[in-house]
Amino acid sequence: MDRLDLRQIQEAFSSPLEEFVRETRVRLAVLINRSGQVLAQHGFDKLFDLVGVASLAAGINASSRALAVQLGEEEFEHLHHAGRSRQLFLGHFDSAAGQLMLVTVFDERSSIGLVRLFFEEFVMRLRGLPAMDMARSRISAQQFEAELEASLDRFFQDLIGT
């Protein structure tokens, strides 16, 4: 699969994600793919470098899966890390859009039990969604290519040759 149309994903996932955040009272819930790219998010995220959190979470998940395979397991269960005030839960699941991960950050207003409970519900709701088609082109490739060089020139003009 080379790419996904995120609009379809976001539309399909936004309601279950909102409900998950409301029910669990987590501070942040981010839906990412295995490469660590953010597909959807909900919750208060001003305190976090969202893209950094997503890339690190994908790294943890990837190494955890590789370790599981080396130990003769297909995969490990979800991951939970607890700090003094904040906790992190990484739950992975298969979907029509491939394997995805829900990354949640929570504090004393929630609990790992609550998060796990509603994560299962979240996954069940997503599995009930109809399969999403691959992306449909809504962009002119010719126009994109035509603008590509000028756009790259704009970005790199002050950087190349310095």
């Binding site: 699969m1 080379d2 790419r3 996904l4 149309d5 995120l6 609009r7 976001q10 539309e11 793919n33 295995r34 490469s35 660590g36 790219q37 597909l39 470098d49 893209v51 950094g52 890339s55 690190l56 790294g59 990837a62 190494s63 590789a66 992306a135 082109s137 809504r138 962009i139 002119s140 490739a141 010719q142 126009q143 994109f144 290519e145 603008e147 590509l148 060089e149 756009s151 790259l152 704009r154 970005f155 790199f156 950087l159 190349i160 310095t162």
Partner: protein, 206 residues
């Protein structure tokens, strides 16, 4: 895996800097991070050992700006170069849209360069990707050091597919952005080809 978000009009691509240990992959990212304006970059994350060798990956998100009305973001990763860390190298390579192979130009490092390039092909294959199907740019780094091979010699040993290649001294920044520009262009042209396949348009090479 390039992601195209039609709702927020965003494109996100993943570039992986690959190469043998101490060839300058992290230095490339550090230089990019130091030069790109603050509003065009995110935090750089480095997972390194105490001796500053990359343990898992370095990560730097940058924003290339607007192309055809789409905000274009690139996520730059490095892999750990040491032979020992192949399992983590393979993980970081997962989902890559383009690869920069950072070779060490020093004569003493040729064997490591060749071994690492073979390792790249092998690891891509294990992800189901033929190295011919993904944009690759080679950077011949450390041109400022003595006892380096000529570009022609390096091309002969490493660049048998005639991909774009650039001499560089990443520590001083020379060649760093030429390399990044080339791989960005390769990745985005490939993406454009998937958006809507226009006949007669081919990826141009240097």
């Amino acid at each position: 895996m390039s992601l195209v978000n039609y709702a927020t009009r965003e494109i996100t691509c993943k570039i992986v800097y690959y190469g043998p240990g101490r060839s300058g992959k992290t230095t490339n990212l550090q230089y990019i991070h130091s030069r790109v304006p603050w509003d065009r970059k995110g935090e750089m994350v480095s997972l390194a050992t105490e001796a500053d060798r990359t343990l898992f990956f370095d990560f730097l998100p940058i924003n290339l700006g607007d192309i055809s009305g789409f905000t274009t973001r690139f996520q730059l990763y490095t892999v750990p170069g040491q032979v020992y860390y192949n399992a983590t190298r393979k993980l970081v390579l997962q989902g890559a849209d383009g690869v920069v192979f950072v070779a060490d130009s020093q004569r003493s490092q040729m064997d490591s360069d060749i071994e690492s390039f073979r390792n790249l092909q092998q690891n891509l294959l294990e992800h189901g990707i033929d190295v011919r199907d993904i944009p690759v740019v080679i950077q011949y780094n450390k041109r400022d050091l003595p006892n380096v091979f000529s570009i022609e010699q390096l091309d002969e040993e490493l660049n048998f597919r005639d991909v774009p290649s650039y001499p560089a001294s990443a520590l001083m920044g020379e060649g760093v952005f030429d390399t990044l520009r080339a791989v960005s262009e390769g990745v985005l042209r490939k993406l454009a080809g998937k958006l809507e396949i226009p006949k007669g348009l081919e990826v141009s090479r240097r």
